[in-house]
Symmetry: C2
Subunit: 154 residues, 2 copies
Amino acid sequence: MVGVKKTPPSAAVEQVDTRYLQTLLGYNARRAALSIIGVFLERLAVYGLKPVDFSVMSVIHHNPGVTSRQLCASLSILPPNLVGLIQSLESRGLIERKPHPTDGRALGLHPTAKGVSLMQQAEVTASELEIDASSKLTASQRQTLVQLLQKIYL
Amino acid sequence: MVGVKKTPPSAAVEQVDTRYLQTLLGYNARRAALSIIGVFLERLAVYGLKPVDFSVMSVIHHNPGVTSRQLCASLSILPPNLVGLIQSLESRGLIERKPHPTDGRALGLHPTAKGVSLMQQAEVTASELEIDASSKLTASQRQTLVQLLQKIYL
DNA sequence: TATTGTTATACTCTATAACTATA
DNA sequence: TATAGTTATAGAGTATAACAATA
């Protein structure tokens, strides 16, 4: 067995080997998401928006009159957890709730002028930040990545 | 303005438009990660392993003698949050803590025979599950996806 | 003086049950 | 009977400060 290093029972680990985990899609997707979200938190703090707030505001921005139910379904948020978010956005004057035209139980969520203005800026910032957070990727690779990710969850 | 539908102020939203969010890498990465993790939770429940437990056990499995500090650094876990995980795995007889060969402050984490056996099976299950959770992707696309994701966080 | 592992603790996120008003 | 919005609450995940033992 010439040339074979015998590892003592309690040898110290010099460099941690994470090669197996790195073969897993879930692991890589989670790490990449957390990496981007970290940059997102920094850059969107000026707007007072965390990722969830941003997602909610973005859907309302592009779908004025959307209901809480629809929001929950499209963003996978549980109804009880949306209540506080909506109340917060409303008290900040970014959205307002109006009676639903056909369903008396529901309320339509509408962005205010202030909300629209904020989101126009926030969405530009978000799109820019994503490029910075994935600066090792070409535009083409970024597009490929988005398409492949959507094949998983859509 | 013939042919132009005027939308009433409070019209109901029929289908929620999430096309803007779908252009964002962070949004897609998070949704895809959560989708895979959902399948992970189901399939690895038989081993009593959640994603974090699995990651920790996998690193210990492939790096016998690794310290808590090294684990925290490689998996982005904060030291106080690792303590409970380690204690749980130890009390289940999956790992054991031995004195570190050179650093008296540290403890080396080692998988037991039971832990090795469990992880050999769990890693096979995890690798299989990932393919099922991304069944719309070819093997080649899956490989591309992993490579692109790693360019973001590594 | 710095680091490892740890405790205590707070904050956030996510999940479940149950209620009301309306469909 | 089912659904929209809500309340209360429990559980899981993540965060900071501070301490004892060792480097």
